[in-house]
């Protein structure tokens, strides 16, 4: 009597599993999960979600526990791509179809893959730096996220790819690159502080894997009077980043419409749960097989579109008061003042 | 009975299934030196700890200056003016001599409202206290863990005698002392009643007990079995009482010692 065999498509279960990698990055709790849940319940499915604190071990337990709750399909945002393979294997053994979310998993057993391209996000940041600096030239600092976290690894890889020509020609020098356990902003602040000291303030850009790290970096730039002068990038376009963008201390943040992404993933998961085919043209080569791929476009948030972004995602994701509060009206971009009121 | 510093009625102490003490009934008058003698494991230390409040009794009554105490604590005992030299000394090994002596009662002076320790006054005070016992230590400033067995014991004794208490409980104070150091201590003990202090003395040196105390309670197998006047008791008798030879058990003391049960006045009715 293996209970596991009771799960899976066509068994009539109306439960979907959603295994996320972390909640400490606001987008997941505030945008992805609610949109996923709403879209699923619109189709009569209940969502059981788990998150893993960016910890591969915890994700293994999460998935094991989800699988033991008789789910019909699993949407998985793997903490670690490679470590995700075993999870897919487990799900397959339990006869539960699986949809990779946000993070590719190199397994041909995947039912599909909904993604933001993290490597592309890294390239986008470098492109923005190129534009801001008028050519890639000078000393760069890179603040990467949690060591081993695939998002951090991919974005950093994107930086390196895009910077390669400039690095090879010697025009750009990376004075410091560091991974920060727990994505700790204070740790990023220390890194940038020390790197500025070492480089005698001769730094033109700080590429950060997310907005929190960017926040830490900005503080040390401020202390040296370099904020607004050096290029700073981030990811997720949080309230904090929007504020820094308005103040000119951060030049851009990469944002993916996570609401759409969540809804899309829910639709696809329901289809998988019902045992339907979701193959639809685009595929992704995961080394060993092609899987159906549903890429989501990211957008770049800058001073130009920040008000629009806040308008769209406030209060669910960003807080206008945090973004625009206590900033002199003269500095506010048009339309921002109304949002604070 | 209101002049009794301490009085115990059918005191009992159980550690789980082990009864360390039962039916302990005794009293200590003001300015009296009373001995407690008994075999190893008889329950003397348990009794002393009950008096000093470091453990609580499980049955019976304990009265200080006529007032009953349900829950005793070391703080309460100190407030009642009870000091104790524990058999295990209870010194803080990481503190030095004078810090141990003044522990919990440090000398302070008020500097702008803040009470600041008077280190040198305590050092001098400790020095004087030790001199009363006729000794000198190589260093007052080193942790007591570096002292010899006897020296440690003297520190514990100084701590108990430093603050003019109403009652000093001494659990084997001379065990580690050399003869040369033991005599001054016994003399000190004899002087204590004159300073208003009663003493409860536990010692295996029966001669010391008999020469120092007015009365001696015999503790045997966890019971306070009898009480003798030391003036009329020989060491041999005391020993027999402690060991409980059959003829002693029946209340017929041998030799020159007399059990007060027979010779003393009848028990006064307790109010």
């Amino acid at each position: 009597g293996q209970l596991g065999s009771a799960a899976g498509p066509g068994n009539g279960s109306k439960k979907l599993g959603f295994a996320l990698s972390t909640f400490t990055v606001p987008r997941y709790v505030k945008v992805d999960l609610p949109n996923f849940t709403n879209a699923a319940s619109a189709q009569g499915y209940e969502v059981i979600s788990q998150q893993a604190d960016s910890n591969v071990d915890k994700q293994l337990e999460n998935v094991t526990n989800l699988l033991s709750q008789n789910i019909a399909a699993l949407c998985l945002m793997a903490v670690d791509a490679e470590a995700g393979v075993a999870l897919v294997r487990k799900a397959k053994a339990a006869n539960v179809p699986i949809l990779a979310y946000n993070q590719a998993i190199p397994s041909k057993d995947l039912g599909g893959y909904v993604s933001r391209d993290n490597v592309q996000a890294g390239r986008d940041m470098v492109a923005a730096a190129d534009k801001f600096l008028g050519g890639l030239n000078g000393n760069f600092i890179i603040c990467s996220g949690q060591p081993g976290d695939q998002v951090a690894v991919d974005i950093t890889q994107g930086y390196m790819e895009a910077l390669k020509p400039a690095l090879d020609s010697g025009k750009v020098k990376i004075v410091s690159q560091k991974f920060h356990a727990g994505w700790d902003p204070e740790s990023a602040r220390k890194q940038v502080e020390d790197s500025l000291t070492a480089a005698h303030n001769d730094v033109v850009a700080v590429l950060c894997n997310n907005d929190g790290l960017a926040g830490g970096a900005i503080q040390s730039l401020r202390a040296q009077g370099l904020a607004t002068k050096a290029f700073v990038s981030g990811l997720d376009a949080t309230s904090e980043a929007c504020r820094a963008i308005v103040l000119g201390e951060q030049q851009m943040s990469v944002f993916t419409p996570y609401d759409q992404m969540g809804r899309r993933a829910a639709e696809l998961s329901v289809k998988l749960a019902k045992g339907e085919n979701i193959a639809e043209g685009k595929t992704y080569d995961l080394g060993g097989g092609q899987v159906p791929w549903f890429p989501m476009d990211s957008r770049i948030i800058t001073k130009e579109n920040v008000v629009e972004h806040v308008k769209q995602y406030s209060p669910a994701y960003v807080d206008a008061k945090v973004a625009f509060g206590n900033i002199p009206a003269s500095q506010l971009p048009p339309g921002a003042a109304e949002l604070v009121k | 009975m209101s002049t009794n510093v301490i009085e115990a009625i059918n005191l009992q102490k159980k550690y789980g299934d082990v009864t360390a003490l039962r039916n302990a009934t005794f009293h200590i008058g003001e300015r009296e030196i009373v001995g407690f003698a008994g075999d190893n494991g008889a329950g003397k230390s348990t009794l002393m700890k009950l008096v000093a409040g470091s453990i609580g009794h499980t049955a019976g009554q304990l009265l200080f200056a006529g007032k009953e105490r349900q829950a005793t604590s070391p703080e309460q005992a100190r407030r009642d003016g009870i000091e104790i030299v524990y058999q295990d000394l209870a010194l803080c090994d990481n503190l030095n001599v004078y810090e141990n002596i003044y522990l919990g009662r440090e000398l302070v002076s008020s500097v702008g409202g803040i009470r600041v320790l008077k280190h040198s006054a305590m050092r001098r005070g400790a020095h004087e206290l030790l001199e009363r016992l006729g000794i000198e230590l190589t260093s007052m400033l080193d942790p007591v863990s570096t002292l010899s067995g006897g020296q440690r014991q003297m520190v514990a004794i100084c701590r108990a005698t430093a603050f003019q208490p109403k009652l000093i409980v001494m659990d084997e104070p001379t065990a580690a002392l050399s003869v040369g150091a033991g005599q001054p201590l016994l003399e000190l003990i004899r002087r204590l009643p004159g300073e208003g202090t009663a003493v409860m003395l536990v010692s295996h040196r029966l001669s010391d007990v008999l020469t120092t105390c007015s009365r001696v309670y015999v503790v045997r197998h966890g019971e306070v079995t009898t009480c003798v006047e030391s003036a009329t008791t020989s060491e041999a008798t005391l020993l027999q009482l402690m060991e409980g030879h059959p003829d002693q058990e029946a209340g017929r003391p041998q030799g020159s010692g007399k059990s007060i049960t027979e010779s003393g006045p009848a028990l006064p009715a307790r109010s």
């Binding site: 009597g1 709790v29 293994l60 949690q146 060591p147 | 009864t19 360390a20 079995t225 409980g244 049960t261």
Partner: protein
């Protein structure tokens, strides 16, 4: 001098003729007795937690499948905590377990996937690293004289760094099938049931006989009966869970073996006694001629060995060697031991207690996860439950309720 003298009634009363101390002579150890009560209290707390979760999760918690999952989830912590318990008993600590697991997991993946070495070689490599790392810790503590906290905190950092360096920060997955089976397979249900049955019967017979002998000598003690009942219940649950699902998973089997060996060593060998002696009074142990330093080194090495077995399970379960694995494992292990009654100040601790401690924290994590509690609330609940569980445990024992 007061002349009125009290005389207890008894002395003048019935004469006592024996020289023997009439106070009860104990033929059992009150210390062991109180340890038993502590363990029973922990069992009760775990049972309580289970009942609550069974309600909250709508009956999913106590099912053969979830109990099997739970037992596997707990296994790595349990193995590590076993080694840590002995270190704590001997007044040491090990903060490097998590980092060591990560390094070994990385090396396992390297060995199996990159180098294509076989299962045997891989196991040898894993265990070799564990032993060596333990040896380094032991030597730093005993020969160099660095406090264990610092020596193993250093290892916490450099071992983790080594794991990242070797793997270049990325996970390698797809281990060999034998390794995969080690983490994900198990004994099939029938032999499992037989094994549990035989084991439980042996323990029950052994303890039952001792109980009967003790009852004859020193009377009936509830703790003994209750332990028997607890063992029966545990065996029954194991039979039910493993019998109805997939048998005893190999990780659990490894834990069982380790626990059996460790319990035997702790109570039946010289070495076991010496660990407790060193923890109770290191100076006294040294003065008795016990080679305290050697014992400490061995303990660090044993901790390394157990950790490496844990790493094998961890890698096998993940089917990969992620360098970030087993974060905070050292904390989990130490708390399992402390919850189980091990003192951070040495001399006190039992293997059974540690296992129950690991089971309690594991149950809380598993239950909260099953109940689908929001993560942030999960953090809060974990903390509160931990405190509440230990508080209940202490209270229960203090007030003799159990």
């Amino acid at each position: 001098m007061s002349t009125s003298v009290d005389e207890p009634a008894t002395a003048a009363g019935a004469p006592v003729t024996v020289r023997k101390d009439p106070r009860k002579l104990l033929t059992y150890s009150r210390e062991a007795e109180s340890t038993t009560w502590r363990l029973l209290a922990l069992v009760a707390v775990i049972a309580l937690v289970w009942v609550v979760f069974q309600q909250v999760t709508g009956g999913v918690f106590v099912t053969p499948r979830n109990l099997t999952n739970l037992s596997v989830q707990v296994s790595v912590t349990a193995l590590v905590a076993l080694g840590v318990t002995w270190l704590l008993v001997a007044r040491q600590i090990d903060l490097s377990s998590g980092a060591l697991i990560a390094l070994i997991a990385v090396m396992i993946a390297q060995s199996e996937v990159i180098h294509g070495w076989g299962f045997g070689v891989t196991v040898a490599v894993a265990i070799g690293i564990g032993l060596f790392s333990g040896l380094v810790n032991g030597v730093l503590v005993t020969a160099v004289g660095i406090p264990a906290f610092i020596a193993t905190l250093g290892a916490f950092s450099y071992l983790r760094g080594a794991g990242y360096l070797i793997s270049d920060g990325s996970t390698v997955s797809g281990l060999g099938s034998t390794m995969f089976t080690l983490g994900n397979g198990g004994l099939s249900p029938l032999p499992s049931v037989i094994l549990i049955f035989v084991l439980a019967a042996a323990v029950l017979v052994y303890r039952g006989r001792r109980m009967i002998a003790d009852v004859r000598r020193s009377g009936f003690r509830a703790s003994q009966l209750l332990s028997l009942v607890a063992i029966c219940l545990g065996a029954f649950l194991a039979l039910w869970a493993f019998g109805l699902y997939q048998g005893i998973p190999y990780p659990v089997l490894l834990v069982l073996v380790a626990v059996a060996v460790a319990s035997f060593v702790a109570s039946q060998t010289r070495f076991g006694r010496h660990i407790y002696a060193v923890g109770g009074n290191p100076e006294a142990a040294r003065r008795t001629g016990i080679k305290t330093k050697r014992i400490l080194v061995v303990l660090f090495v044993v901790a390394g060995l157990l950790t490496s077995i844990g790493a094998l399970i961890q890698a096998a379960r993940l089917d990969a060697g992620p360098p970030s694995t087993a974060e905070l494992m050292e904390m989990a292990a130490i708390s399992a031991a402390v919850i189980g009654g091990t003192s951070l100040f040495g001399g006190r601790g039992t293997i059974g207690g540690t296992m129950l401690g690991a089971f309690l924290t594991g149950s809380i994590a598993n239950g909260l996860s099953l109940a689908g509690v929001n993560t942030f609330w999960q953090l809060v609940a974990t903390g509160l439950l931990l405190v509440a569980a230990v508080a209940t445990d202490r209270r229960t024992r203090k007030e003799g309720l159990l």
